[in-house]
Amino acid sequence: MHRSSEVKHVASYLNTRGCECFGQPCESHCPVLTDRTIHVQLKTFIKIRVKPDRTGVVTDGVKHSMNPFCEIAVEEAIKLKEKKLVKEVVAVSCGPQQVQETIRTALAMGADRGIHVEVSGKDYETLGPLQVSKIFAALAKKEQADLIILGKQAIDDDCNQTGQMIAALLDWPQGTFASEMTLEADKMKVVREVDGGLETIKIKLPAVVTADLRLNTPRYATLPNIMKAKKKKIANVKPADLGVDVCSRLEVLKVDEPPQRQAGVKVETVDDLVGKLKEAGRV
């Protein structure tokens, strides 16, 4: 289709975070241009521990990997390229040195090149959706991306904000929670998984799409592709180069473990139960 020559490239955002056992905040937070966020997922047996100073959780020595929704986003971008609907897939991640590993994984899956936006130390600890979306908006303009695909949310903070913010900053249309996306001429048809069911929308390119679970099943990186990934380029950029201030507007007051589960109470009869509920003011 003639549109393919006009679609320059799909930028893939990779969110790399280290999370312990699903849902713990992690260190690196980088939206992937294609995959909104590749969450770093600590699948293994690492226990999540709150830091002694209660400013966050311990991420030292914790293995980081790509956010599952971001993986799905990368897969979708590569599928579009294989169908020759897009020319180039760029994988982007924001964070310290170790996010390069995640970008390499995206390259091994088939992305053409990577961009590593360097954010480290204190800046990285406070990096959130707002700063990331600003970085991506700036990059999208610089790279002249036609499509940005990201994971719908990071599994460490579950924000579900970056994609939407990017669209707002760029004033682009957005198709979030996509379980299906089809390029039709100059429009993207997106089937969205919403509470009420499935909603189908058509959005004009350039646009932002966030990937939901059922969009596709990400491929395993093949051995030859992993070896080819070595030769693909990862460019280094700083937020300042893009004119973005990564200073956070949020301050974490404290991080606590959830309260210990209290023992329950057994009652003999239904009347007792109702009585106890009334006592507790629940009925």
Binding site: G23, P25, K47, L223
Partner: protein, 441 residues
């Protein structure tokens, strides 16, 4: 969701750990309370080395980024796609031919070969791949080893360009499956005295092969067989036989209690006519098959430790979960001693395998090195598996806990590709200069 799902583990015990660790590090620390207050600021200066029982000697730190990616990617495939199949495959003795095609798609068949649709990666990566497959099952790893080291390797090393073009890409994709015929019913450790004969017919430019091979992984379902036969000049040579050739049959061996997830059988040749183009011309004598076997043995050295690691981790988890006499089994000294032994052998074994892999990649490895590590890994892994089985008690004999399957499999792994004792003789000869394979010489 992020913080809500924090499991309320161990703030206290964690504090103790941090506290102890920081204490032991700082000679200048005035009091425990100072150490705790200064907390992370001081710790950043002296990075403490944590002991990681999963990787006791930091093997990961010695791997390249690419090797780690290869290992991680393939580990994910093995755990997600192979592990779910193995219970029933082993119980019902079913070989899932599809796994060969799946592995072909991932590019892990014949990974060290350059060109012909193969990845051309390092021997260390091959070892890491073998370890991940065998972590699931030795039978699956046998299938992979045969395809890569015993079929693709001889064609690549000893074959003509036409043979390589004809077979290697299809073998790499898993489109066709191969097998390796050296062992005979009457000649196992002693392949040099094999009975299989190859007679050259100048009129038809074919070889006629007669004989039988046994204990051949993949043979019942293989598309091609790389068979080693003695020619009229008394030298052993390799031939590529294809299914469908008249006189060739590959019956399955029944009643196997090891490597049940892989199909094993015989290769019966009753005057099979093999065109001379199917001879592997670049090698003659036992150097041919031994070159292949060394290639496979290297993979097995890594692989056996993968099986051992699975058994160790499984036994650890079981003994942590199972409570007897009011405490987890892991609280007991005998149990901990067994795990300490397992941890040590695995960590040391892996380091030696890595060194061997690097030597092979630098073309500085001798066959005796490979013998030494194949023997060590298999012997130690079998021991670890047996101990682990014991630690699981009665549950240890149930295939749902997987360890007994590894115990059964490792019996074969310890025996094939050169028995434990034979490798000892190879090393003995290297040490003393005196061979002890035969008597009266």
């Amino acid at each position: 969701m992020a913080l809500r799902s924090v499991s309320r583990l161990l703030v206290n015990s964690q504090r103790c750990v941090l506290f102890t660790a920081s204490r032991s590090q700082k000679t200048a620390a005035a009091s425990p309370w100072d150490a705790e207050k200064s907390g992370e600021k001081k710790q950043v200066k002296t990075p403490k080395a944590q002991f990681n029982w999963r990787d006791a000697l930091d093997l990961d730190g010695l791997l390249t980024e690419e090797e780690i990616m290869i290992r991680d990617s393939f580990r994910t495939y093995c755990q997600e796609k192979l592990m779910p199949r193995i219970l029933m495959a082993n119980r019902n003795e079913v070989f899932h031919r599809e796994i060969v095609s799946e592995m072909g798609e991932l590019g892990v068949l014949g990974p060290t070969i350059k060109g012909y649709g193969c990845a051309g990666t390092s021997y260390v990566a091959y070892g890491l791949i073998a370890r991940e497959v065998e972590r699931v099952d030795s039978g699956y790893r046998s299938v992979m080893s045969v395809q890569s080291s015993l079929v693709m390797h001889p064609i690549n090393a000893y074959g003509t360009e036409e043979q390589k073009e004809k077979y290697l890409p299809r073998l790499a994709r898993g489109e066709i499956l191969g097998c390796f015929g050296l062992t005979e019913p009457n000649h196992g450790s002693d392949p040099g005295s094999m009975d299989t004969r190859a007679k050259y017919n100048p009129s038809s430019r074919t070889f006629t092969l007669t004989g039988s091979k046994t204990w051949i992984t993949n043979s019942p379902v293989a598309d091609i067989c790389v068979v080693w036969a003695k020619c009229e000049d008394g030298k052993v040579r390799g031939f590529i036989l294809e299914r469908g050739m008249k006189g060739l049959s590959t019956p399955k061996i029944e009643g196997k209690f090891s490597l049940r997830a892989s199909a094993t059988g015989m290769i019966i040749m009753d005057e099979v006519e093999v065109p001379e183009e199917n001879l592997l011309p670049k090698v003659s004598g036992l150097a041919g098959p031994f070159g292949c076997l060394n290639n496979a043995r290297y993979g097995i050295a890594w692989g056996a430790l993968g099986a051992a690691e699975f058994c160790f981790h499984a036994a650890r988890q079981y003994t942590l979960d199972r409570i007897q006499f009011g405490v987890p089994l892991a609280r007991n000294q005998l149990i901990q001693k067994k795990m300490a032994d397992m941890l040590t052998e695995i960590a040391i074994g892996l380091q030696s395998c890595l060194q061997l892999g690097r030597l092979i990649d630098d073309k500085k490895a001798a066959p005796e090195m490979i013998s030494m590590l194949k023997r060590n890994s298999c012997g130690k892994a079998l021991d670890i598996a047996r101990q682990a089985r014991d630690m699981l008690g009665g549950n240890g004999i149930a295939d749902e806990y997987h360890i007994i399957r590894h115990v059964m499999n490792l019996e074969a792994v310890n025996t094939y590709e050169g028995t434990h004792d034979i490798h000892a003789l190879i090393l003995g000869r290297a040490i003393t200069g005196l061979q002890s394979f035969t008597v009266g010489k």
